[in-house]
């Protein structure tokens, strides 16, 4: 038992801090700190900075141009990025598709797509969810029918995050309609410029345009865009979902969020004292912080095991549940701290316009984030699904 980082790890942390201090643009960290949207250009700019440093792909093997960092290094990198209010790395190409291509893609696919992900030439989005499927992913209905050198795709995907920026989409499609559920599914790469694709925005309850519906009408996809074998897509999808689980605990986000809550509460007077000194508010903050300190160690325990080559078990489901509960609680605290100034819907403030200050710093984003982050316990395998998984592992032994 040793809670300290090794000398090498501490040196690595210092290197990351140095890089962020020098290369992360101030206006970018300011926007993130205040909960503003970065826009496509902002994300592309940050990706380019990371790519120049060679740090855009922490989890990729070196042979593909990645860092091949172990779990502890990745954790340190993410922790420092959160602390410095760096934008998150947009995961669809880098963290989701790339591992699938690296493991199951053809050499040609790897050579073509992976460099374009690093260079920013391609922005990928994800075509997994379908309307009415919810957590029951395997019930998907989008069809792909082989016609000569092409598949013809018809159907609809939904909850496609940042699909409005994407020029490529990776999709799960049903290629064998007679097969049961998880069989008969294939994994296709589709150019968003292909005729027959329509992207329709979904406005979320906080007014943001973050997700989309993607409609496919007789969309022709060359057969060489099939990843791996036909009807084996479910295997690749599951592999992808495992990788999506990185940083599932969101410790860095929670820590940054808690700092923001404390700052706001210190600036707000409540009954003649800063709100931060109010016993009831302080108790909520303290409980969240205590929970976060513990979860952070749970996270490190799993990371440390992963770095030693052990696969995470049911613990990642536990982290998902607890991690989202803590983040949502912190969002609730921010909303409370903002007082009456939580009520305005100031879309300009969120998008970075130069409106004069209204309310305490961070108050404009507080309530929108509270509502927006209700998604944390719904998407990416709802917390109910995670509890089913835990119960299955722990109570599945039968009578």
């Amino acid at each position: 038992m040793d809670l300290n980082y090794s000398v090498e790890e501490q040196a690595f942390r210092a290197e990351v801090q140095e890089f962020l201090a020098q290369k992360l643009p101030k206006e970018m960290s300011e926007a993130i700190r205040l909960g503003r949207e970065l826009g496509k250009e902002g994300h592309e700019k940050w990706h380019a900075i990371l790519n120049e440093q060679g740090w855009l792909a922490p989890n990729w093997p070196q042979e593909f141009g990645g860092c091949e960092w172990n779990a502890v290094q990745r954790h340190i990198f993410e922790e420092e990025c959160c602390r410095a209010h760096a934008p998150r790395i947009v995961p669809f190409g880098l963290a989701m598709l790339a591992p699938v291509l690296q493991k199951f893609g053809s050499k040609a696919q790897q050579d073509h797509y992976l460099p374009r992900i690093l260079s920013g030439e391609d922005w990928w989005c994800q075509g997994y969810s379908e309307p009415g499927a919810g957590s029951d992913l395997a019930s998907l209905k989008t069809r792909a029918v082989r016609e000569g050198d092409h598949y013809v795709v018809n159907g609809q995907k939904t909850w496609t995050t940042l699909g409005q920026h994407a020029n490529w989409i990776f999709c799960l499609v049903r290629t064998d309609p007679d097969a049961k559920q998880q069989s008969g599914i294939s994994f296709l790469l589709i150019d968003m410029d292909t005729p027959g694709i329509e992207v329709r925005p979904i406005i979320l309850l906080d007014g943001t345009h973050e997700v989309n519906e993607v409609w496919f009408t007789d969309v022709k996809v060359p057969v060489e865009n099939l990843v791996g074998e036909e009807n084996k897509g479910w295997t690749y999808a599951k592999y992808l979902l495992t990788h999506e689980r990185t940083n599932i605990a969101g410790v860095g986000f929670s820590r940054a969020g808690l700092d923001a809550v404390k700052r706001m509460a210190s600036s707000q007077m409540h009954r003649g004292k800063p709100l931060s000194e109010n016993a009831h508010f302080a108790a909520r903050v303290a409980r969240a912080e205590i929970d976060l300190m513990a979860m952070s160690t749970t996270n490190l325990r799993i990371i440390s095991r992963a770095a030693a080559g052990q696969a995470p078990g049911v613990e990642s489901s536990m982290l998902k549940v607890k991690g989202t509960e803590i983040r949502q609680e912190i969002n609730d605290l921010a909303r409370r701290a903002a007082g009456a100034y939580a009520m305005p819907f100031v879309s300009e403030a969120l998008e970075g316009a130069n409106e004069p200050d209204m309310g305490p710093e961070g108050s404009a984003a507080a309530a929108p984030q509270y509502f927006n982050n209700r998604k944390l316990s719904i998407f990416g395998g709802s917390n109910e699904v995670q509890k089913n998984i835990i119960a299955k592992v722990k109570l599945g032994g039968g009578a």
Binding site: I203, M343, S347
Partner: protein, 380 residues
């Protein structure tokens, strides 16, 4: 002891419920974020019809020119508004604005109450300030006499319905220190007065508000409502009534949310069966229904004590709003969670209802502030 609505209130409830149901689409159109940015923040046609239905009059006593006005009249009206997710500013124009004029105004000023009841005039209470948080006595805005005139200087925060209001009722300090109950006056200020600047914006849960800057605004002294420096008691009474109304509105919204969730659980299929057949979800639904009954009782307690002693009133109101705040958060969050992704979309009615529930916590004192008030009142 009797927990049934009187015949009059039952009729009011029925007709209001029917009206709101029949006008669902107009109501919903006015609540959407996109629309709220380019309008009054509500539907003017619906406002006129609410007045015609007598809904505004039901919020005032006969003495004030209305025909009801008791605690249970307020809750009857606002529970229905809450169920329908209506954002129409009855709280601001009628309960707060109209209520304060009826309480403090002279005969000439009181004519406005009649116009409020007739649906012809809109009001807004410009009271809260950037530093006042939920403290009713925390007034930094000053009113200085200059001959027969009064000069108002200060900033008012998140003034709901300010842009639509014909008059703003502005609180300002004529004497005493920031935080004193003594020394606060109210002034009736036409919205287009020189020296008054509005910076309007939409609200996340629907409707609109504004930051109000008072930059040496000059008024005749007869714009004052009541005696100089003595407005606190009326402000307290109006805000008590508004808190009861708001608690009832939130209760109504909680009813709508649980009902939508119940229906969703019955119809939505997953893994080959309605998700309402999953026991874990059933038990959570049962918990919501239990908390809903708790909230209903808390609102009844508050409404039933609105005409009792100041202490009992304060105790019951803080109790109700604390309970509704806790139960409301649970209902809003669980309703969204039990629905899943669909409830995250702006156009889905539950999303709007959930926002109404949660954002109500930011008026007059949030859940924790209410708990503090309850503790203070219990110890007193």
């Amino acid at each position: 002891m009797n927990f049934d609505l009187t015949e009059e209130r039952q009729m009011l409830q029925d007709s209001l419920r029917r009206f709101l149901r029949d006008n669902q689409e107009a109501l919903r159109a006015s609540t959407r974020l996109g629309n709220a940015e380019n309008s009054l923040g509500f539907d003017a046609g619906i406002w006129t019809k609410l007045a015609e239905l007598g809904v505004i009059g039901a919020l005032f006593s006969e003495e004030e020119g209305g025909f009801a006005g008791a605690g249970f009249d307020l809750t009857t009206v606002f529970e229905e508004l809450g169920r329908a997710g209506a954002v129409e500013p009855l709280l601001d124009t009628a309960i707060l604005g109209g209520g304060l004029i009826a309480a403090l105004g002279n005969d000439a000023q009181k004519e406005l109450v009649e116009q409020v009841i007739g649906g012809e005039v809109h009001l807004a209470l410009a009271h809260g300030e950037p530093n006042s948080r939920y403290d009713l006595a925390q007034v930094e805005t000053t009113a200085k006499a200059e001959g027969d005139d009064i000069i108002l200087t200060g900033r008012k925060a998140v003034v709901i319905n300010a842009e639509a209001a014909d008059y703003l009722i502005v609180s300002a300090r004529e004497s005493g220190a920031t935080g004193d109950e003594e020394g606060i006056s109210l002034f009736l200020v036409p919205r287009d007065s020189a020296g008054l600047t509005l910076r309007g914006y939409a609200l996340l849960a629907g409707g609109r508000a504004a930051e109000v800057d008072l930059d040496g605004l000059r008024l005749s002294a007869n714009a004052r409502l009541g005696t100089s420096g003595a407005a606190y008691a009326a402000l307290k009474r109006a805000s008590n009534r508004a808190e009861v109304a708001l608690a009832a509105e939130t209760l109504g919204a909680m009813e709508a949310a649980t009902e939508m969730t119940r229906e969703y659980l019955l119809t939505r299929q997953q893994f080959g069966r309605p998700i309402g057949s999953f026991q874990a979800l059933q038990h959570r639904m049962a918990t919501l229904l239990i908390e809903l009954e708790q909230a209903r009782s808390a609102v009844i307690n508050a409404a039933g004590h609105l005409e009792t002693s100041a202490e009992e009133q304060a105790l019951q109101i803080s109790a109700a709003r604390n309970l509704v705040g806790r139960a409301g958060r649970l209902v809003a969050e669980e309703s969204i969670q039990l629905h899943g992704g669909i409830a995250m979309t702006e156009e889905y009615e539950l999303a709007h209802i959930a926002k109404r529930i949660v954002m109500a916590d930011h008026r007059f004192g949030d859940t924790d502030t209410q708990l503090e008030r309850f503790i203070d009142q219990s110890a007193a």
